[in-house]
């Protein structure tokens, strides 16, 4: 496995270097820029940690749903709804209580958004893969609409910068605190997210609740026989996924991802990349903690790469190549496992 990762990442880096060289950039700068941007330069690893927190939360939600064979891929939308509802509360007041309240409302918003998919699934038999996905686009449009009305989310102050459609800025005393350590600023969302990961591990592996989720996921008829309703377990699993994605959105907003404003395109693919984190960590919450850091490193590293003068589009391709390199080894192992099983079955 380690060999595979080294091989694929090596290939991705070489391909990136070739690409940068071919488009007239300095190919020797790629790897140093990625490393400098994610960990080496002062203050960067704090940034990486801070960006890892929402990725981890999204991944945890996907993992919970996967435990009972539900595929929730609508985190990008749930995150948007969470961030927007947190912003609507938080920009209307100030103080620590408003901060906490708005974060909780964000989680609730995400949960309600994903529960719609659960309702559609268990009452109208709409596959949750389809409904969660399509609701991402509704969420994008809905939050876009919120940004057109001052009564809703649009900045109410007269001197709106450049007349762009953003929300008002969060008051200084309503922002999520940062921990200052070794010259790095780490959002308090980071330790909270790691705690949530530990709680998820505990709930899934040590409690009756996790056991029931497993039962439904592994054999729904056995679960039904012994009193576990697939419906209620499924609603809870999807709602938890939405709540965690909504929480990720609230944390992003209150820790200043977009300068403490809610902007169009706020989610910036965190919802999608969180899914990839779950995929690469093969649905193990503790592995997801590490993988979320790697993905966050890619985010911070590549934004640093962009500042070295390489075109933004090329930087995106470089990042995509590296993400692909992280996804291929598990996919390869999975496919090989299937092949083996098929062969064994054929032999019998």
């Amino acid at each position: 496995m380690v060999c595979l990762y080294t091989l694929f990442i090596g290939i991705a880096l070489i391909a990136s270097a070739v690409l940068v060289w071919a488009t007239g950039g300095d190919w020797r700068a790629v790897l140093p820029a990625l490393i400098n941007g994610s960990i080496a330069k002062p203050g960067r690893w704090g940034q990486t940690l801070t960006e890892a927190a929402p990725l981890l939360l999204v991944a945890l939600g996907a993992i919970v749903a996967t435990r009972m064979n539900l595929v929730n891929i609508g985190q990008e939308g749930q995150l948007l709804i969470g961030a927007a509802s947190a912003a609507m509360i938080a920009t209307r007041g100030s103080g620590i209580f408003i901060l906490i309240f708005s974060i909780l409302i964000g989680a609730l918003g995400g949960a309600i958004w994903s529960s719609v998919a659960a309702v559609l699934k268990y009452w109208r038999k709409v596959p949750e893969v389809v409904s969660t996905l399509l609701m991402v686009f509704i969420a994008t449009q809905l939050t876009g609409f919120l940004l057109t009305k001052k009564s809703l989310l649009l900045d109410r102050s007269a001197d709106r910068p450049n007349k762009t459609q953003t929300s008002g800025q969060l008051a200084a005393n309503t922002r999520l605190p940062y921990i200052h350590i070794f010259g790095n600023d780490i959002s308090i969302a980071v330790p909270i997210s790691v705690c949530i990961a530990l709680i998820v591990v505990f709930l899934l592996n040590r409690t009756i609740w996790g056991f029931k989720l497993d039962m439904v996921g592994m054999n729904a008829r056995v679960a039904q026989r012994f009193g576990v309703s697939e419906r209620s377990a499924g609603i809870i699993a999807l709602a938890i996924g939405g709540a965690l994605a909504g929480l990720a959105g609230s944390f992003m907003f209150t820790s200043g991802t977009a300068n403490y404003r809610y902007t169009p395109g706020f989610a910036n693919n965190v919802g999608w990349e969180g899914l990839l984190v779950a995929l690469v960590s093969r649905n193990q919450p503790l592995v997801a903690v590490v993988i979320a850091l790697v993905f966050a490193g890619l985010r911070t590293g590549s934004s640093f790469l962009a500042s070295t003068g390489i075109q933004r589009e090329i930087v995106d391709v470089v990042r995509a190549l590296l993400v692909l390199a992280l996804l291929l080894p598990p996919a390869y192992v999975f496919l090989r496992g299937n092949l083996h099983r098929d062969k064994n079955r054929g032999g019998k």
Partner: protein
């Protein structure tokens, strides 16, 4: 073969249309067909009668090219045919209507008839075709109707038309009336029979229903354990002798055990006298009705099981046993009727309701609703009682493992300890896990559906012994089995289920193979 045959109307032929010679097919140690030799004559409806596993279906699958025989030859009109796949069988002239419908519910009748056709869909031609075949064989059905709107009887007609449009010489009907109402099945045969005789075709009617076979066929072949046991002209035989031939057996495994001293008579006789006289029913099922996909599965089923008795529910498979098991596992909701335990009504179809009310189930298919293969043995032993091994919702693994180890020892489950994944166990040991778990919940009622199917001799004995001990401890046991030996060996009373309803209940002393055979064949005593 005797020379004198009276095939109702027309076409008297002395040359067989189809001849099967020494057909054998083995699956491992089991001979599904053992040297079967059979001749079918043109113009005749040929009944093939036998219990589950008698080899009827395998034999028919050989004819239509789904199963390749290990030995033997098939000839049509005296010419040996090489049947390698369903296409070649169809070319030679074999057509089959399967027991389970293979129709697309969302499509119309003519669309279904044309399915699988390589040519272009021609609506007008197809509709005419459906009309023609329908008229010729008395199978009228509206070609534009959607399948999902049709009754089972009309669906059966569509299946028949699908088969007949290929103009087969030999039509094989596999349990054609198992899904039909009596009125529908009576309508099915008369015209079909007449046309078959005139056109010189041959129909093989595979069935376990005595009345149907007696009513619709010209000759009857009885199969048992892969062999042809008897061969009769239909008008020369009657239901009791057919029933005897169908279920009667040589000295069987169980009766050998009985002879060797593991006798059940001495054990069960006293407990029976106590249980049958004054005990009241623990489990009561009243007027239970269920239909699935428009087909009625349970029809006004009434059943009572008393504390301390084993009530055997005999019957040919597919007569509602699976649905009854599902209802008692809270997996299926009754359309009407009541289920009660000790007089308290239990809601059907609600998750866990039956389990909480005290009904334990050893399901017919343990992988379907009995075990979770990917979980550990310990978890599987505690599926319904995890709460007992937890504090405030947190599972206490030490407690769980201790209890699992106890059950593993008590029920002699062979495994690599409580942590071994269940799929690493053999079938027999998986079944012991199910039994151990169900009994550990201290149930009032134990439903054992086909509990020894696929198990080896030792495992069968163990299971039988445990069931008897459970009954002795006061549990009401409903033993659902299609194995008559098992039923006769273990039960205090025997009920027979046919077409989703109880057709008779006998005490163990009254019951004979012949009577049970008649009841299972759907005939009242």
């Amino acid at each position: 073969m005797s020379e004198v045959r009276t095939s109702g109307t027309g076409a008297q032929a002395s040359v067989p249309l189809v001849e099967l010679t020494n057909i054998s097919k083995r699956y491992g140690d089991i001979a599904a067909c053992d040297n079967v030799t059979l001749s079918m004559y043109p113009g005749q409806i040929h009944g093939i009668l036998g219990e589950n596993g008698a080899g009827k279906s395998t034999l028919m699958k050989v004819l239509i090219g789904l199963v390749k025989p290990d030995a033997g030859a098939i000839s049509m009109n005296g010419v040996v045919q090489n049947i390698t796949n369903p296409q070649s069988a169809a070319r030679i002239g074999f057509g089959m209507v399967h027991q389970h419908f293979s129709l697309v519910e969302e499509l119309t009748v003519w669309e279904n008839v044309l399915l699988g056709e390589e040519l272009k869909f021609d609506r007008a031609r197809a509709r005419v075709l459906v009309g023609e075949i329908g008229e010729r064989f008395g199978l009228t059905v509206n070609p534009d109707a959607r399948i999902r709107d049709l009754t089972a009887g009309l669906r059966q007609r569509v299946e028949l038309i699908k088969c007949l449009r290929h103009d087969p010489r030999v039509v094989i009907l596999d349990e054609p009336t198992s899904v039909l109402t009596p009125a529908e099945s009576e309508q099915l045969f008369p015209t079909l029979r007449e046309k078959v005789a005139i056109e010189g075709r041959c129909v093989a009617l595979v069935s376990h229903k005595l009345a149907e076979v007696l009513h619709a066929t010209d000759v009857i072949t009885i199969m048992r354990q892969g062999r042809v046991i008897e061969h009769h002209e239909t008008h020369q035989t009657d239901a009791p002798s057919l029933a005897r031939a169908m279920v009667g057996r040589e000295v069987s495994l169980r009766s050998q055990h009985a002879v060797l001293g593991a006798s059940f008579v001495s054990q069960s006789a006293p407990s029976e006298s106590t249980s049958t006289t004054d005990a009241t029913d623990v489990l009561q099922i009243a007027d239970a009705c269920v239909s699935l996909g428009g087909v009625s599965k349970l029809k006004n089923l009434n059943l009572g099981v008393r504390a301390g008795e084993i009530l055997g529910l005999a019957g040919v498979e597919g007569n509602g046993q699976r649905e009854l098991g599902d209802v008692l596992s809270s997996l299926l909701t009754l359309d009407s009727g009541l289920i009660s335990i000790d007089g308290t009504i239990v809601r059907t179809g609600k998750p866990g309701s039956m389990s909480r009310a005290g009904i334990a189930v050893i399901p017919e298919d343990r992988h379907d609703s009995g075990v979770v293969l990917t979980m550990s043995v310990a978890a599987n032993l505690a599926l319904q009682r995890m709460v007992d091994f937890s504090h405030n919702g947190v599972i206490d693994e030490v407690l769980l493992f201790e209890s699992a180890q106890q059950l593993i020892d008590e029920f002699e489950i062979r495994c690599d300890g409580p942590n071994a994944p269940l799929h690493s166990l053999s079938g027999g040991n998986q079944q012991r896990v199910v039994l151990a778990r169900e009994l550990s919940a201290k149930p009032k009622v134990l439903v054992a559906a086909q509990p020894t199917r696929g198990l080896d001799v030792g495992a069968i004995e163990f299971m039988s012994d445990r069931l008897e001990r459970a009954a002795a401890s006061g549990i009401a046991i409903l033993l659902i089995s299609s194995d008559l030996d098992e039923i006769l060996h273990l039960s205090h009373r025997i009920s027979v289920i046919s077409s989703g309803t109880i057709v008779g209940t006998l005490s163990r002393q009254e019951a004979t193979m012949e009577q049970l055979g008649l009841l299972m064949g759907g005939l009242a005593l």
